[in-house]
Every structure is written in structure tokens, then in C-alpha cells.
């Protein structure tokens, strides 16, 4: 059960965060071995716990570039089970597609995680509880949150490495939009846009407080993301115990400046570490895997060379 009364610590009061960058060229690689081995380094408190994996499943996608690849989700599930988690749930509330069963069938999730009936939860139609937001960045003062999420012990945000036409980039923080139930917020979850898209990201993350992030950067998306962009090979998986630090690292890998992404800059004040000197880097260095991602002209200022 998640602690609803946690405090939001200012970043200067937090210990350094740890982020691991691992190379992975193909979805056919032994991703379970790679993720298990990396998770061991983090010594996560998951023994006997319920872990909830929150991938980014948006809509059916013939090119396989919009959604977190099910091979990464399956590998993460297997890794957490190997490390002693009692139960690993995959849960998502797609923002555009009401037919969640059709979506997970289309992306062949069960080929990677086995039968879905007891493994996958559609957060769009879960039972809910009203929870006050831990920050007041947006007009939202409270959130309807799914009970499956609230009853889990350890939440892992599992986004795709993508640019975003409204927010600049969409990574583990933005991915948490998907935990809000469509039956309260709609398809798309338009209320969040009206409450202030980037500010809502802060309120959702301060309230839900994801514990860990695993980013599928094997193939990402550049340009007009999160749906209509172009596939971009990144050849990496990024993992970390601080979603802000993970997103900052991913943004640097994309040759963008995290401090110029509005919501990330704000998240760096309260929710985690943005600055490189507060992030302990494991695995590959950012420089060695840097892959410049194209952004829309609107976001040209985010580029490191701007």
C-alpha cells in the first residue's frame, strides 16, 4: 500500500540519485538479463512486494514506435519477479484508445508476459479514490487515482524515449498521465490539459510518487511525437531510482537541455535531481550514447546547440 502522507522533499535535501544507462540494440536481445543485472545494483526494497509497471501504451501502432515495446515490459516483469517481488502487475490507462483489450492484443503483450487476465489492469476503469494533490502547481487540487495503483508497493514508470508536441519531451514523468482513469477524465484526459498540462505533470508525480523508472530507448521517436513522429534508434535502456534524474539524463542523451523543458525544470526543484552533479551515473556515460533527436521548430530552444 502506498503511503499517501509522504512529504515532498526539496531537492537540496535529497541524497544523490542513481541512473544507469545500458546499451541494447535490439528487442530480441536478452533484456531480462540486462535489466535484472542492473536492478541488482540498486538494491531495491521489493522482496515480497507488489510491483506495478506502468508502460506507455497509447494506441495501435504498425511501426512499433509509439508504445513501450512489450519485450521491455516483459523483461522488466521477469526481472522484478526474479528479484523477489511477490506480484508484478502491468497497468495502463490509455489516453486515446478506449479499447484497451484491443490495444494490448494489437501490440502482442501476452507474447511477452503470458496470459493477461491476472497480469494486466486497465486503469481507465479501475475503482478509484479521491486523493489530495501533494503540490498545487496546477488547478487540480485532488486527483481520482486507481485503487490498483494505490494498493501497490512499488511503482515503476516505463515510458518510451520520445519528443512531445506540447511538452517538449515525454518520459517517465509525463508517462504518469496514464494512471489517471479515463472514466473520470475522459479520452483524451482533457481536463489535465485545461488544468495546465505541464503543471499537471508535477501534481500527478508529487502525488503518485513513482519509485523507479525504466525507459525504452532502444527505438524512440523524434519530431512530432508522441504519436506522429519519426522512429529514432537510440540503442539504450535507461533505469534509475529518481524519475526526474532519469528524465534529465534521457533529455541530455537526446541532445536537449533538461533545464529548458519547463516541467522538468520545476520537477528538479521538488521531486528529484536535474543537475548532473547530483546524479550518480552507472553503466554508459551520457556522452558515449548521445543521439540528437529532432524537435519541432516550436521547441528548437531545447536543443543543446541552440
Amino acid at each position: 500500500m502506498r503511503d499517501a502522507n509522504h512529504f515532498v522533499l526539496p531537492s537540496f535535501d535529497r541524497p544523490p540519485s542513481r541512473v544507469a544507462i545500458r546499451r541494447a540494440s535490439h528487442y530480441e536481445d536478452d533484456l531480462a538479463a540486462l535489466i535484472s543485472e542492473t536492478l541488482l545494483e540498486f538494491k531495491l526494497p521489493i522482496q515480497g512486494k507488489t510491483v506495478l509497471l506502468k508502460p506507455n501504451f497509447v494506441e495501435a501502432d504498425a511501426k512499433g514506435v509509439i508504445n513501450t515495446h512489450p519485450a521491455v515490459v516483459g523483461a522488466a516483469r521477469e526481472s522484478f519477479l526474479r528479484l523477489g517481488a511477490q506480484k508484478v502487475i502491468i497497468a495502463e490507462g490509455p489516453g486515446h484508445e478506449r479499447d484497451t483489450e484491443g490495444l494490448v492484443e494489437m501490440i502482442a503483450l501476452k507474447d511477452y508476459v503470458g496470459p493477461l487476465s491476472n497480469t494486466f489492469v486497465d486503469l481507465n476503469v479501475d475503482d478509484i479514490q479521491l486523493v489530495p494533490t501533494r503540490t498545487r502547481a496546477s488547478k487540480l487540487k485532488e486527483l481520482y487515482l486507481p485503487e490498483t495503483l494505490l494498493n501497490s508497493d512499488f511503482v515503476v514508470s516505463m515510458p518510451k524515449l520520445k519528443t512531445h508536441h506540447w511538452a517538449g519531451v515525454t518520459l517517465s514523468l509525463k508517462n504518469m498521465f496514464g494512471v489517471l482513469p479515463g472514466n473520470c477524465y475522459g479520452w483524451p484526459k482533457n481536463l489535465l490539459h485545461w488544468a495546465g498540462l505541464t503543471r499537471s505533470i508535477l501534481d500527478i508525480n508529487s502525488t503518485v510518487r513513482p519509485d523507479f523508472a525504466i525507459v525504452d530507448g532502444i527505438v524512440g521517436m523524434e519530431g512530432n511525437g508522441p504519436i506522429q513522429g519519426t522512429p529514432k534508434s537510440g540503442g539504450i535502456i535507461v533505469l534509475g531510482d529518481d524519475p526526474v534524474a532519469v528524465d534529465a539524463t534521457c533529455t541530455r542523451i537526446m541532445a536537449l537541455v533538461p533545464e529548458r523543458v519547463g516541467y522538468l525544470a520545476n520537477a528538479g526543484l521538488l521531486l528529484g535531481h536535474l543537475k548532473e552533479d547530483k546524479i550518480q551515473q552507472l553503466g554508459e556515460s551520457v556522452t558515449s550514447v548521445r543521439t540528437p533527436f529532432q524537435v519541432l521548430d516550436e521547441f528548437g530552444r531545447l536543443r543543446a546547440d541552440a
Binding site: 486515446h96 508536441h165 481536463l191 506522429q228
Partner: protein, 316 residues
């Protein structure tokens, strides 16, 4: 009766789906999205429709009455319905609640109050302040749509979208005009124009963004179905024909039982029912048992049953 039971050679509808819905009713009279979940407006509306539409309405009379009673009690003082008990504001489910109650001829005074709320409730983009800001915004050209054409939103004060607009149009088309509030005709016309404005190039609808940053949005099955059902009174319009064509071409690629059932309902309403629905639904049922989802079970039951009254009803 567990929905996990294999249908075998019997009737999926009679042996599995309807008993699952019947047994899944909560003590309070409503239905949750899944068996054992708390009662919610949307699954309750569709469970009532599915049981009421079956040829065994007599067997389910008491369940339907209890469902209608729960639904009636959920209405908020302003005439709207919330998605869940305890929510303080009404939403898109108001149209579904009005439709479910009207179809059973229950609580017509409540239906009239719901329609009044629907008429009064205007999406956020219709306001003067929003339009002024939109005109001045550098982002106004990113999304191609005529913002003067307002429909209905998912939640009060936000933008118009295809599905909630379609639900509202469907209820106004089904409920006789004597129950319509003043201004309903104008809202309906605007809503219909809004739907046509949001159609994807070549036919079909997605949630409501046909073009973003110059890139065409892809149609999706469920919004296309609802929009076509809402616009059925204009079945000869080229937009309807193009969208029906898109739905027919994509029918065999559908992988979700909810989408399949709704697509069938829509094509049947336009007198173009595909073959082998029961075989296809059974195949999908055996995949995940519909995730034990009340809504999907109800939609599949309606599709496998006789044609519903609210589909294809002429404007009154």
C-alpha cells in the same frame, strides 16, 4: 456463473454473457466496471440496456428495476450524473443515463432534468474568453478545427470531443421532443456540424483531432461507431458513406471485443451487418474472457441480441 466458463457449443449470449451480467449486479443495484467493483454509472447504463434488450427481459425484470433505481438515485441536484458515487460534478455519462432510463421509460422527469443540464452545459472552447485567447495564441494553427462548432465535453468546462458529443446527440434523437428543453435543436445542429468538422480525411473519426501539426490523425473504431450512430439521420451524406467504408474495411482487423461488438452494432444499424459475429466474439472471448469487463460484456450482449431500439430510431 463465471465468465471464465468456456461457451462450448451453446449460446455465448444466453449461457455466458447475460448470466454474467445478471450475477454481476451489486447489492446496491448498480454494476461496476468489473464484477465486485463499486457501482458506476457507465457500466450500469449498459448492463440495463443489455438485459433489457435481451429476449429474456422477463427473467431480468427485477435486476433492471433495481438498476434503474440505482441510476435514478445517482442524479445530482443540477440534473447531471457523475461517473461514480461520491463525485460532486456531473459528466459525459449524463447522456448515457438519460438514454438508459428513457429506454425503460423510467423516471422521465429525471430524464428531462438531465437533458436540460446537457443543453446548459457548454464546452470550454465556446466561451468568449477562450476564443479571444485562442485567437491571440501562437499555437492556434496547430490543430485544424472550427472552434465555433461546439459539441459536448467529457468533463464540464473542457473541450468538445467526438464520443461525448455523439452520446448527447443519440439521446436527443431518441427522446421525444416534448421532453427537450428550449435550445435543444440549436445544440443538436451545432453538435452534428462539429462532428462533421472533426472527421478524419477519408472518413472515420478519432477522439477529435483530425489534423495536428499538418499531419492527418488516424481514425479509430469506437469514436467512428459513435459518430456514425449519432449521425445516422444523415446516412446518405458522403461523410457517412466514407466513414462506413472505413469501418467495413477495418472490421476484420479488430482485435478487441468491445470494438468488434460496437462496429457490428453500427454496421447493422446501417443495414450492412458483417457475417459470423458470434464466431468472432467467441474467439475474442476465449482470448482474455473480456478481462471480466461489464461494459464489454454488455456491448457484446447488445450486438448478439436483437437490434436495440435506440439504434436506428428516427428523429421524433
Amino acid at each position: 456463473m463465471s465468465i471464465s466458463r468456456a461457451p462450448g457449443r451453446g449460446s455465448l449470449l444466453q449461457d455466458v454473457l447475460l448470466p454474467f451480467l445478471h450475477k454481476g449486479q451489486n447489492e446496491d443495484g448498480g454494476w461496476g466496471y468489473r464484477q465486485g467493483h463499486r457501482s458506476s454509472s457507465e457500466p450500469t447504463c449498459w448492463a440495463i440496456e443489455a438485459l433489457g434488450n435481451s429476449q429474456r427481459t422477463g427473467d431480468f425484470k427485477s435486476a433492471i428495476e433495481r438498476g434503474c433505481r440505482w441510476l435514478s438515485q445517482m442524479q445530482l441536484p443540477d440534473g447531471s450524473w457523475p461517473s461514480f458515487a461520491g463525485q460532486r460534478t456531473g459528466s459525459w455519462v449524463t447522456a448515457l443515463a438519460c438514454l438508459a432510463l428513457y429506454e425503460r421509460r423510467e423516471s422521465l422527469d429525471r430524464v428531462a432534468q438531465g437533458l436540460l443540464w446537457l443543453c446548459k452545459e457548454r464546452p470550454g472552447e465556446g466561451g468568449l474568453w477562450w476564443r479571444l485567447r485562442h485567437q491571440l495564441s501562437r499555437r492556434r494553427s496547430l490543430v485544424r478545427q472550427d472552434s465555433s462548432l461546439v459539441g459536448w465535453s467529457w468533463t464540464p468546462g473542457t473541450a468538445s470531443w467526438v464520443e461525448p458529443t455523439s452520446y448527447s446527440l443519440l439521446v436527443f434523437r431518441n427522446v421525444p421532443e416534448q421532453l427537450h428543453p428550449h435550445g435543444a435543436r440549436n445544440r443538436r445542429e451545432l453538435g452534428e456540424r462539429m462532428l462533421y468538422d472533426r472527421m478524419c480525411a477519408g472518413g472515420g473519426w478519432n477522439s477529435g483531432n483530425p489534423l495536428v501539426y499538418g499531419v492527418a490523425g488516424e481514425p479509430r473504431v469506437i469514436p467512428t461507431v459513435w459518430a456514425l450512430l449519432a449521425l445516422e439521420g444523415h446516412s446518405d451524406r458522403p461523410e457517412n458513406c466514407a466513414s462506413l467504408g472505413w469501418l467495413e474495411r477495418n472490421y476484420r482487423q479488430i482485435r478487441g471485443p468491445g470494438s468488434l461488438a460496437l462496429a457490428y452494432l453500427c454496421l447493422r444499424a446501417y443495414n450492412r451487418p458483417p457475417l459470423d459475429l458470434e464466431r468472432d466474439v467467441k474467439r475474442l472471448y476465449e482470448t482474455n474472457h473480456f478481462f471480466r469487463d461489464t461494459l464489454v460484456t454488455a456491448w457484446a450482449s447488445i450486438a448478439l441480441g436483437p437490434q436495440s431500439k435506440w439504434v436506428g430510431a428516427p428523429a421524433k
